[in-house]
């Protein structure tokens, strides 16, 4: 066991060992996104495709930087990152409440940062660190679960106030996955689910009218085809009319004729499925499945609990993006504003996803690094 952990790979070794095939897979997926953005602009790189490419370029470099950082540094930094994200989230909330409207992002000049997106990764980091310090039987004890519960609830509460149901749900689900992997007992999940179900009628009172409307519309979109149900219905029409092979690149009538709303962001999957049909849609889902499988593979190969949890957490987060978005455009889930990772136009989501992959690669590069309970070096 001493051959692991002590001998740290050099930068050159790290670069050689980096899973380039994963980078390739990511780039391939992102390229599908560029093509779709090109199509969304009616066959033009302006205004979306070019900017998305440059963001991707920045993101890939950032991802590699994150990947090369020693995993133990990430472990030590995890609470700080979490705290910083929480502060940013609170800052957005405060700015919003002092009269700047319902803003969800901070303007950093060159780019608008959406703290709630960063929070998803930060929660994974913080929980991974927390559960790293416990054996499985210890982790499941109630007293050891109180702090992680707050790690999840604090950002959720802030995000819910924005109000952003989708992101709050994602944080809850990512958190749940971390609890599951970290060692929470099955019955504890049962209790939480039961409590959650009991809270639904209470929570309903706190929903905004438009949120209630969205849920109603989701349940029956045909009742309001030109109002709230418009998005879902038009998305289903575009998707369904794509058929098996689609209408061809740049030939998607529904999206190009602007029946499809938000075609460059949340509904980009619909456009892809309209133009490339079931074949194209399933192809993209397969690509995502490969990325998720890769993340799962890395998680299983890690020696440290932190790396395992981090890798799996990042993967689950990625999966949630994909699942919620695709389910949403198919009318399986309500429209909650979750982008399709690597493809939807938008900076924060792209960067968050790429940083997540950076952390995943860091786990891979340092899969054999031993980390003790306290988070120190062996």
């Amino acid at each position: 066991m001493s051959q692991f952990g002590t001998a740290q790979p050099t930068l050159r070794q790290k670069l050689l060992r980096l899973n380039w095939e994963l980078v390739l897979l990511i780039s391939l997926t992102a390229s599908v996104g560029f093509a779709m953005l090109y199509s969304a602009a009616n066959g033009s790189f302006d205004p979306w495709a070019t900017r998305q490419m440059s963001r991707f370029a920045v993101g890939i470099v950032l991802m590699l930087c994150v990947a090369l950082v020693d995993i133990r540094l990430w472990l030590r930094a995890s609470y700080t990152v979490y705290a910083a994200s929480l502060v940013l989230l609170a800052a957005v909330e405060i700015m919003g409440s002092i009269g700047m409207g319902a803003q969800r992002w901070l303007n950093l000049g060159f780019f608008q940062l959406q703290p709630s997106e960063v929070m998803k990764i930060a929660v994974v980091l913080a929980l991974a660190r927390w559960f790293h310090g416990f054996e499985v039987d210890e982790a499941g004890r109630i007293r050891n679960l109180i702090i992680p519960v707050f790690i999840v609830l604090a950002p959720m509460a802030l995000v819910l106030r924005q109000p952003d149901l989708g992101t709050a749900g994602v944080i809850a689900m990512v958190g749940g996955a971390m609890f599951w992997l970290g060692g929470a007992r099955l019955w504890q999940f049962g209790v939480v689910l039961a409590a959650g179900a009991a809270a639904v009628p209470v929570a309903w009172q706190f929903l905004h009218a438009y949120q209630k409307q969205r849920i109603f519309t989701f349940l029956n979109p045909e009742t309001d085809p030109l109002g709230a149900g418009y998005h879902i219905l038009q998305s289903k029409i575009a998707l369904g009319s794509g058929g098996l092979f689609g209408k061809g690149f740049l030939e998607g009538t529904q999206s190009h004729l602007n029946f499809l709303p938000e075609k460059q962001t949340d509904f980009i999957f619909t456009m892809l499925a309209e133009e490339f049909g079931l074949i194209g849609g399933v192809g993209l889902i397969a690509l995502y499945a490969l990325l998720i499988a890769y993340g799962f593979y890395i998680a299983l190969r890690c020696r440290s609990q932190f790396a395992r949890l981090l890798a799996m957490g990042v993967t689950v987060n990625f999966f949630l993006y994909v699942f919620i978005n695709v389910a949403m455009v198919m009318g399986v889930l309500p429209v909650v504003g979750v982008p399709l990772p690597l493809i939807s136009y938008g900076g924060t989501a792209m960067l968050t996803v790429l940083i997540g992959f950076g952390l995943l690669m860091s786990c891979w590069l340092h899969r054999d690094t031993y980390i003790n309970r306290r988070g120190g070096l062996a």
């Binding site: 009319s241 004729l257 029946f259 079931l278 799962f296 198919m330 399986v332």
Partner: protein, 629 residues
Amino acid sequence: MNSRDNDRQRFFTRRAALLAGGQFGLLAALVGRMYYLQVVESDRYHTLAEENRINMRLLPPSRGRILDRFGVPIAVNQKNYRVLIKSENTPDVPAVLDRLAMIIDLGPEEKARILKEVRRKKKFVPVTVREFLEWEDVARLEVNAPDLPGVTIDVGERRFYPNSDSAAHILGYVGAPRPEDLTGDPLLELPGFRIGRSGIERAFDRPLRGAAGARQLEVNAVGRVIRELDRQDGKPGRDVVLTLDMALQRAATERLGEEAGAVVVMDAHTGALIVQASTPSFDPNQFTEGLSNAQWRRLADNERAPLRNKAIAGEYAPGSTFKMIVALAALEEGLITPQTSFFCPGHLELGDGKFHCWKRHGHGHVDLNRSLAESCDVYYYEVARKVGIDKIAKMAARFGLGTELGLDVPGERAGLIPTKAWKRAVVGQPWVVGETLVAGIGQGFVLTTPLQLATMTARMVNGGKAVTPYLARDRVERGQLAARADTPVADIGVDSGHLDLMIEAMNLVTQDRTGTAHRARITVPGLTMGGKTGTAQVRRISRREREAGVRKNEELPWRFRDHALFVGYGPIENPRYAIAVVVEHGGGGSSVAAPIARDVMAATLDRDPARLSPGANVAGFDGPGNRGS
């Protein structure tokens, strides 16, 4: 690596595998859902997508023309140049309108209306600035086009009546559909679409309208046209051929001149109307452009009723033109013979009443021929008293009086032929003999239209055939033009010998020196006309007035003057045409109506298709070979 670490790894692997399994399961469910949407339900969504994307735009069909019997167009379509403005191409709409105003003279209200419409409509929907532009204005706009961004000129169609007012009542006019006209046919809801509002335009609206074409346009979610996918040209409306001879129609209108009146010329063998004039008239083109309130009031409030088609909707006492009916009723009943004569002392006394003849000192002994030639009133008082009103009414009905004749343009009036039962039912009083006497000279309750009088005359001179009047060569059947059925015309069931007696007597009216219309006979060699004059009182002449001397028509206000009537036919041998002339408050039948009839009949005989264009297929003309004997 200690055992606790191994435990932890095994635990993690187990739970991670479950988690990953769940994830792949959910992704698989998404694929399933996608399969459902894109393969199973694909057709449904495909249809929905097509509906979303494709917008049908109707192309209004070109309205059919209306032609006269010789093919002369009397209702056509003209190019309608319109200036349109599209705000999306116009940086500053008010400024462009100001510049436009220098070319086509836009008033401030008009500008305000345009600006309001521009604000209300989507920015790519053109707003009409002005319609019916003159060609010079179009040319000037074209020259100034660079200064007028977003201003376009568009060519549409509008109805134009080249013979503007001489056939206005028959042609009718077109107008925008009213809410009650809307049948759900989207064509009717097209802006600028016009439907027939009266006359032929209304009666033949369906065939004239044609079938709309359609453009399939690809539009985006806000309705902007992306491109045209398909275009189906519609079927232009069918031309409607009338039996009217526009040259004669115009001549008749001009001959009526300033008078308010009507002239009807009918082919006595077919019922085809050659002339159907009504004056004063109006310009149907004004209706196409939209009438101003003042223009409308001028037409509607005019005491000479320019909007009424007096030929079919003017109801007048027939006066002496009714006398043939009374005579025929008596002849058919065997109550008189041509030789039966009555003495006319200038009046007839009945109880307290004294019924006057127009000839103050009387006609002396009068037989049938003289009674008609000189139009003795006392003769007809006597005959009417013998026959009785109900028999007179029955005879009148055989000649088409008192009923609508089913003319193929709307607006016909029935007139009135009184009976005892009618008076009891409508007036609520029993019939008195005096009323029979008055009816015997076509006065009192009796009302007829010029169309009925022409029809009556035609039936009298065509050998007793129950011809009915019509204006268009074809009929409308289920919205389509269909040829007139060639069924033989029924007989009115009056002894042809008796009819010949009428013709013989009516010949005398113009041909005999004593005839009331002798001065109005046709003097053109080879052309002849027979007929009967009529003068219908429109007011009651009181005894005191009569004693003081009946005032001359010229001394009375216009609306109290007598109606002048004439019914006739030509030529005398083998009558071909029947004519009826009514001049409202014109004075005497022989002095006013008969000369008009003479001129119109002479022109009609002169323009007989058999002479004018032998062998040609002329609407409503059955050719010389088919002439009734």
